[in-house]
């Protein structure tokens, strides 16, 4: 027994030794690299007041599961920020945690999000108004960074309410200038989306802005070459829910947009075109009159009438649909003013009413939804699965076997008939399945964004053609202007200039993206302002601006605030 005790004791010591050794060595895998500071020894102070030390920056990274790109890019950004003397604590978070604490509660220091370039964001209301107006700087609001700029707010107001598009355009361009110099949450990259299709079976592929080949117009225009007129679509996720009033994922909505019709649609460039509507008239700032077609029928044979239109908007409001809330919120009332005409009365002027409201709200058949409401009540409508959706769109719901297939067939009675006979959508759950499926001919099209390794793989198959389209959304790095050091514009500008954009493009994106300096991407010709200040990677200049603002460094290269420092939130 005695021997055993000794044995235990020695093992314990052994364990402790391992623990300390391995544990200690675990901490120092990243060393602060100060080689840039050694060249110009400006503002290096020997006995700097420790209370002036610029606080540690918590950089939240997306865990690799969701997006390896943001993870890798984040590591590179952190490395370069450290070169400026900032102490950066990079840690990863799950998306659900990060969005609740950052996107919603605004408790972050800094994190990155890839914002999707949906067609309804072509009118840059979301980018310029929602994301930067002071009204949205509250918890849950889109002004995640907490950008407060009265001058900007004024421009934003004009942009949001004016019906004169030239005036709106001018305001938008001015706002972009302000954002580019204040860099509250600068955009960094936009993807070069690479979708693929089978060119031996289909032609006339029309990718639409934001959605690529997943665009409604592509489904309308794509033309079969062979007798196989069913388009097999491979995606990574399955459809979740077919209730337009309750769904929250784009994947569901884009399919629902084929089944249901809105009053107007956004075309491949994002411009408004009439759809159910034949005529849209602005009577004044807050009154819009819409006349609809008289030849539209729901898939069950009932005619689509102005009553259905009025019902849809009223209903979404009545049952408090979270999905439609943003669209119908500022509609005060809807009047039926003629056999085919309705009048929308807005509570306040809302410029993007067509792009952001009329194009998004899908007209529901009153005869179906009213009875569901009667049966289940408001909550019941929101949890209703709507397993066999009846719409009026150019595609009818065919069947859905979860995790296996979701199928639509063309509605030959629609006022605009697609060239294909149907769509079969298969969820693959992992992208290499999609790539192999394309090569093997199991599927003919995917909106999955091909990675370099995938491209290598499909290059061997001559029937797979790549469609390239720049993304209208971008990777945005969200600083929090409520937290130090992001409350100071000079710190933000310097940090922005320390983002190694080119290196990230080369290494992380492997050429699959472009740099971007404005939230309204350069391809959005009408709205973008190409002449904004471009704070690209430039450590020298970053350092110079910090020096000019009075920042100082200790001998180890760590950065400190100047004495009696008052942050400058925005440029004068």
């Amino acid at each position: 027994m005695k021997n055993l005790k000794k044995l235990i004791a020695s093992m314990m010591i052994f364990v402790l030794i391992i623990g300390t050794f391995v544990g200690c060595s675990g901490g120092n895998s990243k060393e602060v690299n100060n080689d840039s500071g050694s060249e110009d020894q400006v503002n290096v102070v020997e006995n700097v007041d420790p209370s002036l030390k610029v606080p540690v920056i918590d950089l939240w990274l997306q865990s690799q599961t969701k997006d390896p790109i943001r993870y890798e890019a984040g590591l590179m950004i952190a490395d370069n920020w450290r070169k400026l003397g900032f102490e950066v604590n990079a840690e990863t978070r799950e998306w659900a945690t990060m969005s609740a604490e950052g996107m919603k509660a605004h408790d972050h220091d800094v994190f990155m999000v890839k914002w999707g370039g949906k067609p309804e964001r072509i009118d840059p209301y979301h980018w310029l108004y929602s994301m930067h107006h002071s009204d949205e700087a509250v918890e849950g609001g889109y002004n995640i960074t907490g950008y407060l700029n009265p001058e900007y707010d004024k421009l934003a107001k004009t942009f949001a309410t004016s019906l004169d598009s030239a005036e709106r355009q001018a305001a938008a361009k001015e706002m972009q200038v302000l954002l580019a110099q204040d860099v509250p949450q600068p955009p960094m990259f936009k993807l070069k989306l690479k979708n693929a299709y089978n060119n031996e079976k289909f032609t006339n592929v029309t990718p639409g802005v934001g959605l690529g080949v997943y665009s409604f117009w592509n489904f309308m225009n794509i033309t079969p070459i062979t007798d196989d007129k069913i388009l097999n679509l491979g995606q990574t996720n399955d459809i979740n829910l077919l209730n337009p009033l309750a769904t929250k994922t784009g994947q569901d909505l884009y399919m629902l947009k084929n089944i249901y019709d809105p009053l107007v649609r956004l075309d491949v460039k994002g411009d408004v075109v009439n759809w159910l509507a034949t005529e849209v008239n602005d009577i004044d700032d807050t009154t819009i009159e819409v006349t609809i077609r008289d030849d539209v029928y729901f898939h069950d044979g009932e005619q689509l009438t102005v009553e259905d239109v009025k019902f849809t908007f009223d209903f979404a409001k009545e049952i408090k649909s979270p999905t439609y809330n943003a669209y119908v919120r500022n509609i005060e009332s809807i009047d039926i003013v003629g056999d085919q005409t309705v009048k929308f009365n807005l509570s306040e002027p809302y410029a993007p009413f067509l792009t952001n409201t009329l194009s998004q709200v899908l007209i529901l058949p009153e005869h179906i939804w009213a009875s569901v409401y009667e049966e289940k009540g408001a909550e019941g409508v929101l949890t209703w699965e709507n397993d066999e959706p009846v719409g009026s769109g150019p595609f009818k719901f065919d069947y859905w076997r979860p995790n296996e297939e979701f199928a639509l067939k063309a509605n030959k009675d629609h006022f605009q008939v697609a060239h294909i006979d149907g769509i079969v959508r298969t969820p693959y759950t992992q992208s290499f399945g999609i790539v192999q499926g394309l090569i093997a001919g199991e599927i003919e099209m995917t909106s999955y964004n091909m990675m370099p390794l995938d491209l290598e793989e499909v290059a061997k198959a001559s029937h797979v053609e790549i469609v390239e389209l720049p993304d209208a959304g971008s990777y945005i790095i969200h600083y929090n202007m409520r937290h130090k050091p992001f409350d100071d514009v000079w710190a933000r500008r310097a940090l922005t200039m320390a983002i190694p954009r080119q290196a990230i493009l080369d290494i992380v994106f492997d050429g699959g993206a472009l740099k971007t300096f404005t939230l309204v991407t350069e391809d959005n010709i009408f709205w973008t302002n190409p002449d904004v200040e471009k704070l690209d990677f430039d450590l020298e200049k970053a350092k110079a601006e910090l020096v000019e603002a009075g920042y100082q460094w200790d001998v180890d290269g760590a950065i400190y605030y100047p004495e009696n420092f008052e942050p400058t939130p925005i440029m004068e």
């Binding site: 659900a96 990060m98 979740n240």
Partner: protein, 324 residues
Amino acid sequence: MRMTKYILKRLSIVALTLFILLTIVFFMFRVIPGDPVSMFIDSGLDKESQELMMKMYGLDKPLWDQYVIYIKGVLHGDFGNSFTYSKPVLDVIGERFLNTLVLTTTSLLIAFSVGITAGSYLAWHRNTKIDLFGTVMALIIRCAPVFWTGMILLTVFAFKLDWLPLGGMTTVGSNFTSFWDKIFSLDFLKHLILPAITSALYSMATPTLLMRTSMLEVIKEDYIELAYAKGLSDRNVRIRHAMRTALLPVVTIFAVQAGLAIGGSVLVETVFRWPGMGREIVLAVASRDYPMAQGAFLFIGFTTISFNLLADVLYAYLDPRVSL
């Protein structure tokens, strides 16, 4: 009669365990940071809509109320609606659960039939080179991470040789009228082979080694000598007497292995994209789909406990010395 009483008693313990489990799980999921709504902010859910959606999910109520509502629902067989699928949790889980069950049952069948045969074979040829090789192999396979084995099998048999599909449960575009129609199809079988073998390889080592040890023990017994003296054939002695008796301890670990296999199905299902419970639980946790995760967790727990019960009953059936 005694058997029924025993089972009833066991079932009540099961129910209690499940209730405790349920409570732990319920509160644990609420402790996980993040909520099921805010993760959709970037896709266009503004402030007011987020609140409406929280209300839609019933998450605006105090935690205790939510718990009471949930427990009441469970007692009525209602596990709530999945946030992600907006379907009753049972509907979603039902199918996933069957998928997992098919996979684990197949792999356990393979693992135990091969393991038992191999173990008794090794014991029969004890102290030979085959025995040494087999034992070492079993140990090594047991120590190899199952997802890694899966990745390698996938690379070799699906990618390089192209004999078997790369994953999933059925070929894209195949059409089955029912669950049974599906699982008895050749296509399904092809998809099943790799994940089942991967999982089986992992579960195989324990029964093999245990069977070997147990056999070695049994071979020394007098009744084996007597069986030989009786003039029974080698085969008969080995199968009817040695293996049959040596089987008993192996049965007891069946429950443990089944529990491990079901819990471990997360890994195999991830590697092979098998639409089962394990993967669903990971997805549900990631998307904070509380009802789904709770339900899935409860199902897995229930299955684990049921397998324990099954093993006990099976043991009592196989060993006349044990009465329940």
